[in-house]
């Protein structure tokens, strides 16, 4: 006879507030084979676990059912507890009476009845549980970081410093990302390049770091500890090993019509170009769509001028395959398109710019060498208006529902350094709320008002009208006084909402990493596992997980690196024993399972089998590679003859659960 112990958790008032736990205990005691049942305030606590251990000893229990929170939360805790007293960890079942019961129901009687049903189902299942033993898999001691901005660089440096090999894949011709575009950065107003470029150099020179710039991840397969990744190294048309980075090709290139991505289109670049002076690697790349040689076959000036003979028009994309133990996503962000916000006059006037464009306009290495001018006239502005929340906190469908988080601080920064350099320029920030939590952040914003004389007016700008002479009129209400204002600034700066890089979605599909409605990567737990993706072996760093500023990004980058190092430090990983198994006696060899398996874990093999009727024959049957199988169960659903069974979730177990429910 089986001896099942049932342990009902209150979870403080989380469960006990809605579910009558005593009644659940009473109900399960009536079930045959339930040798012991009890409730306790916090089953996961040390005292709660002691209760389980003692009951196992006193009542000789061989199976355990815990009615508590989601198995995602504490299944591992209770399995470990069972293992400690000599019960196979897979003899433990969790009935989720919190997320699937008490949290979603209000009526106590209804919730109690459902909790009893869930408990009965778990008891029905546990009767058929068998002892399972996890296998082992190797860990490849190498990490991949996707994205070479500050998040990716910092993560890679931290992993490399811990002694592990790490590769950075960056789709742009240089590492550095958005931070390289910025001028001064809050809250200390130090120069962005001065603190970023040394890190870029460190990453390039580190013996454990390999940079793949102008490259993209082409495909990913495998699983935690053993990812197989193909990287497409796009053709630069310049031999990196020969190029000295002198830049003569970029100066003499006659094609000058392509807006520079790095300068946010405020300046044109050549078809052969280096994004910026401190780029790493300092090797130019030919934009084949803009290059006259590629378009017409004539030109070739760069090739003629190159003293090193490094130009190679015949270069082709290169595919690199590498194995990794862990992958870090650090794909960063871009600002949203303002196409749906016609009322702000962006596009109608050159003097309506985004904040990122202002960064370039005030940057000493930017298109105006740091002179703040109105792009339409080239003259210094006298009056600047900064508009906050452009496309942020917008649920109308035109923008993003979230707060972009960084704008309030950079608005204060922009206003401050414009006022510092040009004390005669009048700067007004129109805001809905000023949100400046963070160390020294609110003080920073107040300094803009108190010391630098920046005007802060509560009220979102309604529209920017551009008249025939290019004059701007801003319509806005000063909400504190109730006055309606019409103002004529020379320059309008739009603090545009941020959004994840467009590559995030593609990579999420490739890596089976979850994303939310806005394409931000989802963390495994919003509070307790903030730098891990729910997919094992995938980690998150920086803006790709949610809006955050540089200090926060660097902290998260370090945290992600520690998690990666923690994984790579292991020699072996225990694999999930809940994998698929094929009953060859009834497998018809149709191999439908091989087509649905997302991990390529099933193959067809010709094998001698004994059929249900006792006939010996050799035929094709499905064979599961347990090292690759992740236990998703797709094959068990696809199998027309019921030969595929998932250990730990066998057809028999699932049907027993269903029978107990209805």
């Amino acid at each position: 006879m089986q001896k099942i112990g049932v342990f009902v958790c209150w979870c403080g008032s989380n469960i006990a507030g809605t579910v009558d736990v005593a009644q659940v205990v009473e109900a399960v005691r009536q079930i045959p084979d339930v040798a012991y049942a009890i409730d306790y305030k916090y089953m996961c606590s040390e005292q709660g676990q002691e209760l389980i251990r003692k009951a196992v000893a006193d009542y000789k229990l061989d199976r355990i059912v815990v009615c508590s929170c989601s198995p995602r939360m504490h299944e591992a805790t209770f399995r470990k507890c069972a293992e400690g007293v000599g019960i196979n960890p897979y003899m433990v079942e969790i009935a989720n009476i919190r997320e699937q019961c008490s949290w979603v129901l209000k009526d106590k009687a209804e919730a109690t009845a459902k909790a009893i049903k869930l408990a009965k189902a778990a008891i029905a299942k546990v009767r058929f549980n068998g002892a399972l033993k996890p296998g082992e898999s190797q860990v490849v001691k190498r990490a991949l970081v996707i994205g070479g901005g500050i998040a990716g660089i910092q993560t890679a440096l931290d992993i490399a410093e811990a002694g592990y090999k790490v590769d950075i894949v960056e789709k742009e011709p240089t590492i550095g990302g958005r931070m390289a575009q910025l001028d001064k950065i809050f809250p200390t107003l130090d120069c962005s390049a001065c603190i970023l470029t040394p890190k870029m150099v460190d990453a390039a020179n580190h013996e454990n770091i390999t940079l793949y710039t102008y490259s993209e991840v082409e495909s990913v397969s495998g699983f935690v500890g053993n990812f197989d990744v193909t990287i497409r190294k796009k053709a630069r048309s310049v031999k990196a090993d020969m190029c000295s980075g002198c830049g003569i090709c970029t100066e003499k290139c006659p094609s000058r019509k392509t807006p520079s991505e790095f300068d946010m289109g405020l300046k044109n670049r050549g078809a052969i170009y280096i994004p910026f002076a401190q780029a790493i690697p300092k090797v130019p790349v030919i934009d084949r769509e803009a290059c006259i040689k590629f378009k017409t076959g004539k030109c070739g000036i760069c090739s003629k001028l190159c003293p090193a003979g490094a130009i190679d028009y015949t270069q082709t994309d290169e595919l690199i395959t590498e194995k990794y133990g862990a992958i870090v996503l650090a794909t960063g962000f871009k600002t949203i398109s303002l196409d749906k916000f016609g009322e702000y006059g962006y596009g109608a006037s050159k003097d309506v710019i985004t904040s990122l464009e202002l960064e370039r306009l005030t940057n000493a290495a930017g298109p105006t060498e740091g002179h703040l001018v109105c792009p339409s006239t080239g003259k210094e502005p006298k009056k600047v208006i900064i508009v906050s929340c452009v496309g942020s906190r917008d649920v109308s469908g035109r923008g993003k529902s979230y707060c972009s988080k960084i704008c309030c601080m950079y608005n204060a920064k922009h206003a401050m350094y414009i006022r510092e350099k040009y004390p005669d320029v009048d700067v007004t920030v129109f805001y809905i709320d000023v949100r400046t939590p963070g160390k020294g952040f609110d003080e920073f914003q107040r300094r803009a008002v108190e010391e630098y004389g920046v005007h802060y007016v509560r009220g979102q700008v309604g529209k920017v009208v551009v008249d025939g002479d290019g004059r701007l009129t801003v319509f806005v209400s000063d909400l504190n006084s109730g006055r309606k204002l019409m103002l004529n600034p020379d320059l309008v700066v739009l603090a545009t909402a941020v959004q994840p890089s467009p590559d995030a979605r593609k990579l999420a599909t490739m890596l089976t990493a979850s994303i939310d409605n806005d394409d931000f990567y989802v963390e495994a737990h919003p509070k307790l596992r903030p730098v891990e993706s729910p997919t094992a072996g995938i980690f998150l760093s920086g803006m790709c997980q949610g809006p955050k500023d540089i200090p926060e990004t660097v902290s998260q980058a370090g945290a992600a690196a520690v998690k990666v190092v923690g994984l790579l430090a292991k020699d072996k990983l225990l694999t999930n024993p809940c994998t698929a198994q094929c009953d060859t006696s009834i497998c018809s060899g149709c191999l439908a399972c091989t087509h649905v398996c997302p991990y390529g874990a099933i193959t067809g093999e010709s094998k001698p089998v004994i059929t249900k009727l006792g006939v010996r024959e050799t035929r094709t049957v499905a064979v599961v590679n347990n090292a690759l199988c992740q236990g998703c169960g797709a094959c068990t659903v696809a199998c027309p003859c019921g030969a595929m069974d998932l250990q730990g979730f066998t057809n028999q177990q699932i049907l027993a659960e269903v029978d107990a429910l209805c």
Binding site: R393, V395, R398, R458, Q460, K484
Partner: protein, 129 residues
């Protein structure tokens, strides 16, 4: 008789059929309103009064009669709220408050010349059935 603010707010919201609680007081409605210069209460303030339990003051307001129903406020509201629909609800309630008020066609010439035409047409449709 004291006005039941809660009931009045509910009446206005039911007539307006827009979720005023979404309003975050950014003021874009007021910034965009072409008639705001003439209003005693700007649209964002009307939203504020509704959300803070001062609906009765709105029954005395002139702002609804300045509203052109141009819908710029609704179009540009980042929260998907329609102040224009609230203005229409307030016009209705203000008229109903006056009691029996069938609009005699011959009185049209006495109406203020700057009265929005759309408003006149809407009122005839509603009260001359």
């Amino acid at each position: 008789m004291a006005v039941d603010e809660k009931q009045l707010t509910e009446d206005i919201l039911r007539l307006a059929a827009t979720d005023v609680r979404r309003c975050m007081q950014c003021g874009r409605c007021s910034a965009n309103c072409p008639e705001g210069f003439k209003m005693d209460l700007l649209p964002h303030r009307v939203m504020w009064d509704l959300n803070s339990g001062h609906a009765s003051e709105l029954l005395e307001a002139d702002a609804p009669w300045q509203c052109l129903s141009c819908m710029a406020c609704e179009e540009r509201c980042p929260r998907g709220v329609s102040p224009a629909r609230v203005m229409e609800a307030l016009r209705l309630l203000q008229i109903r408050q006056q009691g029996n008020n069938k609009l005699p066609a011959e009185s049209v010439e006495h109406y203020p010349s700057d009265m929005p035409q759309q408003l006149l047409v809407a009122a005839f449709r509603k009260y001359n059935k």
